[in-house]
C-alpha cells in the first residue's frame, strides 16, 4: 500500500492576465508521505498560503496535477464537483488564528465537521471528548471560544482539524500567534499526531526555531518547490 499522502506535479498558479499577469508557481512538484511533518517556507508573498489552499481544494490552480492519497483530484481541472466533500473527509485545517465558530462552544466546534460527514451526535461527541482530553482542555468542552485563552483555543482548533480523522493536515502558520514555548508545544503536538495517526502535515512557518522539529522542509524558490532535509543551518526568511 502506498505511503503517499500528497503528490503535486507541475503545478502552475497565475493571478491576473495580460500585462497584469503575476506568476506565483510555475511547475511546482513534490510529495508528502503519511506520518511526515513538513515545513513549507518562503518569503512573504511567495505563495505559501496559495499553495496550501490549492492542496486543500480551496484555490483553483492554473494547471498541473494534485493527488490526495491515491486519488487524483486535479488534472488541469478539478476531477470532482465536490471539493468541499474532499476537504470535509480528508483534510484538517489549522490557521494562524484559531478561527473557531464564535457562536458554538468548543465541543460543538469540534463535532461540526464529523456531524456534517454523517457521524452520529453521540459518536462525534465521544471522539471530541477524547481529543479534548488528549489536548488537556476537556474541562473547557462546553465553554465558548471567547472564554478560552489563545493557547487553549489553538489546541481546540487542532482538535477540530483532527475530529474528522483526516489523512492530511494543512497548517498555515499555526504558531504565529503563540509564544515560543507554546509554539514548540504545538509543533511537537503536530509531530506526535503525524506519527501516531499516520497523517501528513504541511505546516507553513516563518519561525526558524520550529524547523528542527520537522521531518523535511519544502521551500518555494523561483516559483518552484524545493525539498530539503533538516540541517544545522536552516536559514529562512
Amino acid at each position: 500500500m502506498s505511503r503517499q499522502a500528497i503528490k503535486v506535479e507541475n503545478l502552475v498558479k497565475n493571478f491576473g492576465e495580460g500585462d497584469a499577469l503575476v506568476e506565483v508557481l510555475n511547475g511546482a512538484s513534490f510529495c508528502v508521505d503519511k506520518g511526515e511533518l513538513v515545513a513549507l517556507v518562503a518569503p512573504s508573498g511567495a505563495g505559501k498560503t496559495t499553495l496550501l489552499m490549492m492542496i486543500g481544494c480551496v484555490e483553483d490552480p492554473t494547471s498541473g496535477k494534485i493527488w490526495l492519497g491515491d486519488e487524483k483530484v486535479y488534472d488541469d481541472k478539478w476531477l470532482t464537483n465536490e471539493t468541499r466533500k474532499i476537504r470535509r473527509e480528508k483534510i484538517g485545517f489549522i490557521f494562524q488564528a484559531h478561527y473557531l465558530i464564535p457562536f458554538l462552544n468548543i465541543i460543538e466546534n469540534i463535532t461540526l465537521v464529523p456531524q456534517a460527514n454523517g457521524v452520529s451526535e453521540k459518536e462525534s461527541e465521544k471522539t471530541a471528548m477524547e481529543l479534548l482530553e488528549y489536548f488537556e482542555i476537556a474541562d473547557k468542552a462546553h465553554a465558548m471560544p471567547s472564554e478560552l485563552s489563545g493557547g487553549q483555543n489553538q489546541r481546540a482548533a487542532i482538535a477540530r482539524a483532527l475530529a474528522n480523522k483526516p489523512q492530511i493536515i494543512l497548517a498555515d502558520e499555526p504558531t504565529a500567534a503563540l509564544d515560543s514555548k507554546r509554539s514548540v508545544d504545538v509543533v511537537k503536538m503536530l509531530k506526535k499526531i503525524a506519527l501516531e495517526q499516520d497523517v501528513a502535515v504541511i505546516m507553513v512557518t516563518h519561525d526558524e526555531a520550529m524547523l528542527p522539529l520537522c521531518d523535511r522542509i519544502l521551500k518555494i524558490e523561483d516559483k518552484k518547490v524545493v525539498s530539503s532535509k533538516i540541517s544545522g543551518k536552516n536559514v529562512i526568511f
Binding site: T49, T50, M53, G56, V58, E59, R84, K85, I86, R87, R88, E89, I91, F93, F95, Q96, Y99, I101, P102, F103, L104, E108, T111, L112, V113, Q115, A116, E121, M144, R160, N164, D172
Partner: protein, 381 residues
Amino acid sequence: MINLAQKEIAHTFGKFIVTAIGVGMLLGIVFVMMGVYRGMIIDAQVLLDDLDVDLWVVQENTLGPFAEASRVHEDLKDTIHVIEGIAKSEGITFQNLQLPSKEGPVRVFAVGFDPYGDINPINPKRLVEGRGISKSHYEMVVTDKTGFHLNETLRLGRDDYKVVGITHGTVSSGGDPLVYISLKDAQELQFLYSNARIRNDRARGITGVNSHMVNAVVATIKAGYDVDKTAEDIRRFKHKSVYTKEEEKVILTQNLIKRASKQIGMFTVILVVVSTIIIALIIYTMTLEKMKEIAIMKLIGIPNSMIIKMIVQETVLLGVLAFIAGNIFAHLIYTKFPKRVVLETPDAFALFVVVIIASILASIVGVKKVISADPAQAIGG
C-alpha cells in the same frame, strides 16, 4: 445534528429579540391598518343592521340617503305603507351635527325618527344606560364615544336637549358617533329656517317652505312577499329610487368607503413591502456580520445546505417572532384609535402567511451571499 440557527440566535439573543420587536412593531401597524379597514366595513353597516329594514325609498335618481343627498316628503311613508306587501314604513332623517361640549364641539351623525312609529333605529342591545326616546321633543340618545353623560343638557339650535340614553358601538358609515333625536326635532334642525331667513325668503317671493321632509322612507316587507318585486313596484309607480338592504349595503361599503378602503389597502401593501425590504436588509446585514464564520465553515467543508438552512431558519424565526410581537403590539394599541379597529383572526392568519413568504423571499439575499462567499476569505487569501 447541531442546529446552527439555534446556536447563533442564542449567541446574539438580545440583539435578535430587539430586531424582531422592531420589525414586529411595523407588522403591528400593518395589522392595525387591516383592522381599520375591517372597522370601516363594520361601521358602515351598524346603522343598516340596527334599522334592519328591507327597503330604502329615496329621492329619485339618487344613491341616498348616505352616498348622495336625498329628500322626500314625510307623507310618502303613508303612500308606501298601503302598497301591497309592505308591513311597516317610517320616515327617517340623517344629518351631521356639531354638539357643544367643554372640550370643544363634538361632531356626530344624528338620526331622526318617529319615537311613536313602527321602526326604531335604536338597537336595545346597544343601549347601555337610560332609555330610548319617548317624547316628540328635546330628548336625545347619544353614543358613549361622544363623552356626554346621562341627564346632561345640550344646547342644539334654539333648544335644550336632555340626554336620556347612552348607547355603545353605534357609529355612522363615516365613523362619526351616532346620536338619536325625534323626527320632529330633526326636521326643525334640518329644514326649519331662522326667522331672519324666513323674512328674507318672503321678500324674495318664496313662501310656504315645507319642513315636513325626510331623507328616506324605510320599510319592511310582510312575510311571503318578494322584496325585489315590491321595490320594482315602488320604482315604477312612485317614481322613487328604491334600494334593498343588500343594495344599500353595497352602496355603503363599495361606493362610500371604496376610496378610503383602497387608500388603506395601498398603505397596507406598501407597509408589507417595506417590512419585507427591512427584513431582507436585516438578514443581509446579519449574514454580512457572519461572513467570516461562513467562510470558515465553507473552508472546513461544511456543506452549503447546512449554512443556508441556518440563514433560512433565522429569517423565518425572525418573521415568526416579529409577527407575534406585532400581534401583541397591535392588541395593545388598537383600542386607543378614535375610530373602530377590528382585529380579526383570518386577517392575522393572512398576515402570518405574508410574513412567512416575505421572510423566505428576504432570506434569498442572505442565501445568495452565502453561496457567493469565498472560503479563502477565512484566511484573508
